[in-house]
Every structure is written in C-alpha cells, then in structure tokens.
C-alpha cells in the first residue's frame, strides 16, 4: 500500500471493517446500509489513492451494491476489470449486477469476451517462460552434445514462444480497443438523443436505465456521444454518466 493510500484509508477508516460491520447487521437493512455506504467510501478512497487490486475492486463493487448504489457498483466492477479483465469474481459480480438493471430488450451488454477475459498476461508470461526453457535446453543440447531430441525440443520451445508472442499481441490489441472506447455507466434513466442538446429529438422511445452501460465515442459541449449495446449511437448528457 502506498503512503497516500495508507493515509486515505486511515482518514476514512478501514473499509473492510465497515464492510464486516455491515455483514454483521445484515438482518436489519436500515442499520446495515450506512455501514456499506461507509465501506464504499473507504474503498473509493483507497482505489483513488492507488490501492488498485482485483480484491479491492471486488469489495468496492459489492459495497456499492449493498449500499444501494447500482451504477457505482457497476462502475467499480468495470474499473476492476480494466485492471484484471480475466478475474472470475469480477466477471461474475458484473453479470449479477447487470441482472438488477432494467434493460430494454437487446440493450444488455454481452459478457466480456476475447482473450483478455480468459487469459491473464501472467499466464502468457508463464507459458513463455516454459517455452523459453524448452528452447534453451534444446539449443544448448544442440550445440553441445547434439542429442537427437535437441532440435525438436528447441522447435517446440520456439513455437511456444511464437504462440506467447501472438497471445501478447492480441491482449495488447484488445486492451487498446478498451482504452479507445471506454465504458460509461448511466447514473439515472436517460433518453439518448440524436444530437448534443436537449432540443434534439430522442433517439428511442425507451430510456436508458440507471446502471446501463454504453461505450464512449466522443465528447462535445457537455454531452457524450456513445454507442449502445445494440450498436445504436446517440448522445447523452455528461451529468448522466460516470466513468469507471
């Protein structure tokens, strides 16, 4: 934990302790909720101060959810997934949170896909390390004792390194796509409009529900051009969305 994070946590109390207090009071929702609100604030502060781990993100999302802040919970889950897109707990929590959003038809985002949600960069590193060992042993034996299996072993290692390189490239590509089109979370029921102003007509008959997710394309004059899950592009006021 960085010194700044430590100070933030000390200032706001231990969010874990507040979370556990909330769990102890679970039988009474009116008593438990303030504890989860306190925990959510503590996790937010820790996150902002640099205490960014998948566990912090998970607890942050859960605290927001139990405090009744659905958009905050979804945003926290996305913030964690941006850091650890392969994290199973965060993926499952996000799926559960989406169940609570009253999406119009076909607007619920798909589950995170791609290689990033299945393989972590550390997995690729471990695989590359194994392939390096194979290639290294094969090459060493090839240039020393010239064993018959040396060249095939080195070839297997080389192929492994190639696969690791391709996987790394794909992970970087998917990460770039995420950065280029970040997720925004809708904080109140909002009608997407055809232009960046209230005078423009609504794009749809329905409203984007609180907790809904869109992808940011552009910003202009206090409005955000965003792509909905069904591919439709509309404008939302900046005040109606939060950035995870």
């Amino acid at each position: 934990m960085t010194p700044v994070a430590l100070l933030a946590v000390l200032a706001l109390g231990q969010p874990d302790a507040a979370f556990r207090d909330g769990l102890d009071l679970r039988a009474d929702a009116s008593a438990a909720r303030p504890k989860f609100v306190e925990a959510a604030k503590g996790y937010d502060a820790a996150w902002q101060a640099g205490e960014r781990t998948a566990a912090t993100a998970t607890n942050r999302a859960r605290a927001h959810a139990l405090a009744g802040d659905l958009p905050g919970a979804i945003a926290a889950a996305h913030a964690g997934l941006r850091l650890a897109p392969y994290d199973a707990d965060l993926l499952r929590d996000l799926d559960t949170l989406r169940d609570a959003v009253e999406y119009p038809q076909a607007l619920r985002p798909a589950r995170p896909g791609g290689l990033r949600s299945r393989v972590s960069p550390w997995d690729v590193l471990a695989f590359a390390a194994l392939a390096s060992v194979l290639a290294g042993v094969g090459l060493a034996r090839r240039f020393t004792t010239r064993d018959g299996w040396a060249v095939p072993l080195a070839a297997v290692g080389g192929v492994g390194l190639l696969v690791a390189a391709i996987a790394g490239w794909q992970l970087a590509r998917e990460e770039r796509r995420e950065i280029d089109r970040p997720v925004l979370v809708v904080v109140r029921d909002t009608t997407p409009r055809k232009g960046n102003g209230d005078t423009y007509p609504g794009l749809t008959e329905w409203r984007l529900p609180r907790g809904g997710e869109v992808r940011e394309l552009h910003r202009r004059g206090g409005w955000v051009q965003a792509e909905l899950a069904n591919g439709v592009v509309g404008w939302l006021p900046e005040s109606a969305v939060i950035v995870p």
């Binding site: 874990d16 979370f19 556990r20 909330g22 769990l23 009071l25 679970r26 039988a27 009474d28 929702a29 009116s30 438990a32 909720r33 960014r52 781990t53 998948a54 566990a55 912090t56 998970t58 607890n59 859960r62 959810a65 139990l66 850091l83 650890a84 707990d89 499952r92 929590d93 559960t96 972590s120 960069p121 550390w122 590193l125 590359a128 390390a129 390096s132 060992v133 290639a135 290294g136 042993v137 090459l139 060493a140 240039f143 020393t144 004792t145 010239r146 790394g168 992970l171």
Partner: protein, 328 residues
C-alpha cells in the same frame, strides 16, 4: 367588626351585579374588551399551555384564565383565530367549548385547540385584556391586564420505527474478498519480459560456453560432428561393429567418408583407385598411404580365410579422428 356594623351588613339589601349592558354601546365595542367588569380590585388574565414541549403534528391545549371579574357569566372568548400573530404560529386554532360559568364564579377559563405549524422555539403572543373598573375615576375606568407571553418549543415527531427488513442481495456480495499475493494486479511490466527472454538467452549461452570449457575434447568432437561427412562416418562405423560383416561395412563407411569429406569420385572403389583419386585431390601423401593401406587390409580380410586377418571399425574411427584433429 362591631356588632352593629355586622347587623347593618346582614340586613342591607345585596348590591346588584354589574353588567356589560350597563355600559354604553361605544364602550362595549372597544378593542380588546371582552366584557370583564370589576367592582373593585384588578382583573387578571393568564395563559396556560398543556405542555411547553409540543410535537409537530399534535395539538396543544391553551387555557386563558380570567379572575376577579364581577360578571363572569358575561365574559366573551377572545377570538384567537382572527389574530395574525396566532395564525402565523398555528395552522389550526379552534375554540374548545366549556360549561358556562355561574354568575358568582371566581374565575373563568377559555380553552383553545392549537396545532403548531413548524418545529422550533416560540413564544405564545401577549394578549392585551381590557376590563372595566367601575370604582375607578371616569377617565380611567378601562384598564388593561396583559397576558404574559409563554415560551414553548415544537419538536419533530419521532420517526416511526419501520419494520426490520433484512438486507437482500446475491450471496456472493456478502463476502469480503481477501487480496491475493500473486499474481499482482495488472500485467507484467516490460522488465519481466526482458528478464525472461534475456535470462533464457544468457542461460543457454552460458550452458554452451560452460560445457565447452569443462569438456574441451568433447567440444572439438562436436565441432567435427558438425561436418556431416564425419558424423555419418562415425554413425556407420559404430553400427558396423554390430553387423554380420564388420570388415566390409568398415570399408564401405570409410570410402563413403572419403567421398563426402574430400570429394572423391564415387567411381573410385578399389584401394588403388582411391589412392589415385586422393592424389588428384592433393591430400598429403601420408594420409593417402594410410587410407590405401586400410582399404587393402579390409579387402585382404574379406578374402582371407576366416579369422586370419581382422580389421576393426575402431581402426577406421581412430584414423578419422586423427585426421580431424580429435585425438592423437
């Protein structure tokens, strides 16, 4: 009191009770005059609230008590609902009717139901209460009894306790997740990748260099084996030792070595042809002689009686090793 005075008092007729009807209409309609007349002494009036700590939304009972009026049955109720200062404080101002006081009552009480408008600390407004003093000089017969202000406070009503409802949510949300030590969040930095690839390269190179330092002969042998012709010859000579005719296989392997290593024509098969071919290839004469001699011994061994002459594949191996600088 002297007995005579007591007697006179008993036999004298009772003085008639004063009445507002004895006053002129103008006097009767004076502001803040509610009909109280006194034959002597002062009329007093006072507020009394049912409580000085009221709760918003509930009613207060205000009692106005007038004492020492000579005509208690004629007193009228001050209309508080018409007063702005009261309407400002109370949303509801209602008269609470009571029994009519008897003509000889010492005091008269008027009750009101009041409902405060908002929470806070207030003071019940003063009331100017005029009464008519019959015994006073004519120009001072209307006198005033002020009803003193009464402080009171209004507080929020207690929030009714809602029924206890358990907090609902997905089961997994009611767990605190502990931070894992590994893997750290985020991906490995470029240093990890550089360390992995660089480390693998350094270790491999170190292995090779170390091996050559520790096994210098083996290193030279390995260098020789890089020549395909030598490697093939070695392999063939090793397998020739296990064959049914090791001498013939030794000769074949050695000729093949000469073909592959020095470019000897494949047409050169006999020892003489081999010697001629090697001479044309400018090999040193001693090597030509050694090669020719080995092949001749092989031929001799093949065509001699069994067991007279033996040529071991190791002889050819040692010869090649010596030529290639491995041994001897």
């Amino acid at each position: 009191m002297p007995p005579l005075a007591v007697l006179l008092l008993l036999i004298s007729p009772a003085a008639p009770r004063p009445s507002v009807n004895d006053l002129s209409p103008v006097d009767r309609q004076r502001d803040d005059f509610y009909g109280a007349i006194t034959g002597g002494g002062k009329v007093t009036a006072a507020w009394a609230l049912s409580t000085d700590k009221a709760t918003l939304g509930t009613d207060l009972t205000l009692t106005l008590t007038v004492t020492n009026a000579a005509n208690p049955h004629e007193l009228s109720r001050p209309p508080l609902a018409d007063r702005d200062d009261f309407r400002k404080l109370f949303g509801v101002i209602e008269d609470v009717p009571g029994p009519a006081p008897p003509p000889d009552a010492a005091r008269v009480e008027f009750r009101y139901k009041l409902r405060p408008r908002a929470e806070g600390k207030y003071s019940l407004p003063e009331l100017k209460y005029l009464y008519y003093a019959q015994a006073a000089p004519p120009d001072r017969r209307f006198q005033t009894a002020f009803v003193a202000a009464v402080p009171f406070s209004v507080t929020k009503p207690p929030v009714p306790k809602s029924p206890v409802v358990p907090l609902d949510g997905p089961t997994q949300f009611f767990q605190v997740r502990s931070a894992a030590v590994f893997p750290p969040s985020g991906g490995p930095s470029a240093w990890w990748w550089a360390g992995l690839l660089g480390g693998a390269a350094v270790l491999t190179a170190g292995w090779i260099v170390g091996w050559r330092v520790w096994y210098p002969d083996a290193a030279r042998l390995a260098r020789i084996r890089r020549t395909r012709a030598v490697r093939v010859a070695f392999d063939r000579l090793r397998t020739a030792a296990l064959s049914p005719d090791p001498t013939a296989d030794t000769a074949t392997a050695f000729r093949r070595y000469l073909h592959d290593r020095f470019g000897l024509p494949y047409s050169a098969t006999t020892p003489a042809e081999v010697a001629t071919g090697l001479t044309e290839l400018n090999l040193p004469p001693d090597r030509i002689a050694e090669a020719e001699q080995l092949l001749r011994r092989c031929d001799a061994a093949r065509f001699a009686a069994a067991g007279d002459i033996m040529v071991s594949p190791d002889e050819a191996l040692r010869l090649i090793e010596r030529w290639e600088g491995v041994a001897g």
